[in-house]
């Protein structure tokens, strides 16, 4: 049977068989195309619990689906596929496969927080978007986004020295995201800095890059922060049910490092 408005049907739900006979009736070929139904057959309660355990996702259960977040969304205005209301629902009902279909859009949130101020129930949709992107990364559904890499580089340096040196952050960020160090906008910026900034400041910048100054007596603060970060990471790992996976990976590493024949 020819299918009208075929573009509305997901291609993977169209089933055509080369050779198929059901109860003696030949249903092979294009004229016997089946459309697979998209019935939701279960709720997966774990996903809401997982995402609400990540920072930003705590209030997702408050959502009553009014759509204020989507209506106020900056990204939605550019990309109608970007729909926080819809994702919040998928998460709440545990429709994981549907959520994963949009894995390459969810990270596009620009954190303008217009939704935060529009939401009548204080769901904090911007936080939910952040938590969801984080969840996708932790679960291995998406690679680390550039902004996650930036956060790591930035926070890593603060934790290490108690200070920030922008030049170093930028260099490490570009390196880790595989971007070239020489970029037109960067060259232009450095040029203007060299000509425009007072000499004293330039010297200061240069020295800071060579000597990497630290906040005095930073070591205690650093160990406290590291301890806290490790604790939080453990919490998230447990909440997302990743403990077993991590354990497996550890064992794999150990078994590989063990010389063969022992």
């Amino acid at each position: 049977m020819p299918i009208h408005e075929e573009h509305l049907i997901r291609p993977e739900n169209l089933k055509t068989h080369e050779n198929l006979v059901i109860d003696g009736v030949d249903v092979s070929g294009h004229w016997s195309t089946f459309i697979e139904s998209r019935v939701v057959t279960d709720y997966n309660e774990a996903i809401e619990e997982e995402i609400s355990s990540l920072p930003g996702g705590e209030f997702i259960h408050r959502c009553w689906q009014c759509g204020s977040c989507t209506n106020s969304c900056t990204v939605n205005a550019v990309n109608p596929e970007f729909n926080p209301r819809y994702w919040i629902y998928l998460i709440r009902m545990g429709m994981e496969s549907e959520l994963l279909r949009d894995r390459d859009i969810i990270w596009q949130c620009v954190s303008c927080n217009k939704c935060t101020y529009a939401c009548p129930r204080d769901v904090m949709p911007e936080g939910v978007m952040k938590a969801t992107a984080h969840w996708l990364e932790l679960k291995g559904h998406t690679p680390k986004s550039p902004s996650t890499v930036f956060d790591e580089v930035f926070a890593g340096q603060v934790i290490e020295t108690g200070k920030i040196e922008e030049g170093r952050v930028l260099r490490h960020f570009l390196k880790r995201t595989g971007q070239p160090m020489i970029q037109p906008w960067l060259v232009e910026m450095v040029k203007r800095m060299v000509f425009g900034l007072p000499l004293k400041m330039l010297i200061h910048l240069g020295l800071a890059n060579i000597f990497r100054p630290r906040t005095s007596q930073w070591a205690r603060a650093r160990s406290a922060i590291n301890e806290y970060v490790a604790e939080k990471e453990d919490e998230h790992q447990t909440a997302l049910g990743l403990d077993d996976l991590v354990e497996l990976a550890k064992q794999e590493v150990t078994s590989k490092s063990t010389p063969a024949g022992e």
Binding site: T41, R92, M93, M95
Partner: protein, 350 residues
Amino acid sequence: MTKPVLIVGGGPAGLAAAHSLASIGQKCILVEKEDRLGGAPILSGYAKLVPSGEWAKDAIGGMVSRVENNKLVEIKTGTIVNEFSGNPGSFSAKLSDGKTIKASSAILSTGFTHFDSVNKPEWGFGTFENVVTTTQVEQMISSGQGVRCPSDGRKPKRVAILLCVGSRDRQIGREWCSKICCTVSANLAMEIREELEDCHVYIYYMDIRTFGLYETSYYWRSQEEFKVKYIKARIAEVTQKDDKLIVKGEDTLVKRPITIPFDMVVHAIGMDPNVDNMLISTIFGIDLEPHGFIGKQNSYGDIGATSRPGVFIAGAATGPESIDDSIAQGHAAAMSAYAVAQGAGKVAAE
């Protein structure tokens, strides 16, 4: 001494009317067809009431004993009114115990009847053991037994509450909103979550009508503190597979058919007109409104007036009503009846 006021029905509205009248020195006779007072909250074994959270047996039980202990209230349980005649100030009622009483006026607080879910067979009540009504869940809680699947006594892991069962449904001739089921269901959902931490509760709704201040204390609270999930869908059918109930419908927010397994399905049953309303209408000579509840004569001047002067109504006899509003109407009808008893009623009625 004026003739007593006849009060028919010993639920919250009737109890409030009796207490009101007695407290201003007016004698009254309270006729109740069941063998004890208290009405639906007591007879059907409700658990914690909206909005106070008090147990029904304490809150309404308190109203019962207050009336029972009042010498100005004569109580006749297990009794109905068979005949009623006369005019405001001098009515005469023949009771089922054979006695005839004189009354100056009458208050009908005859209440409602719970919708019988068997009339929505597609939702499985009466077919599958684990499909129950809100009243049954109330009883599970109030009896101390706890919320359990009737089939095998197991603790449910997932419960669906279907709203508007016997309400807002032209298919079965019930076009009214029963007003209290949304709030009651949110209340029950919280009680289930409180008792069974691992049990997820889903409420299937067409609209949520937790009116007025119940918005925050029931609708919001059930979501924010108890993580109850609300799904906008009217269920098509409930079937059974092994020990699970399969709930079919359309999740309207994602335009997707759903067939979800549940351990227990709860019907949030609505309020029907009292099954005896035709009889009551005939005996007392009063009109019913189009849905079958007892008709109100006007909404503002005298809210308890029926089509017959000197006969007043209060509570869920007039349409779906909350307990606190029924009590308020009981007090209001008492005031109107008192005016007739004191001889001022004739003027007011005209």
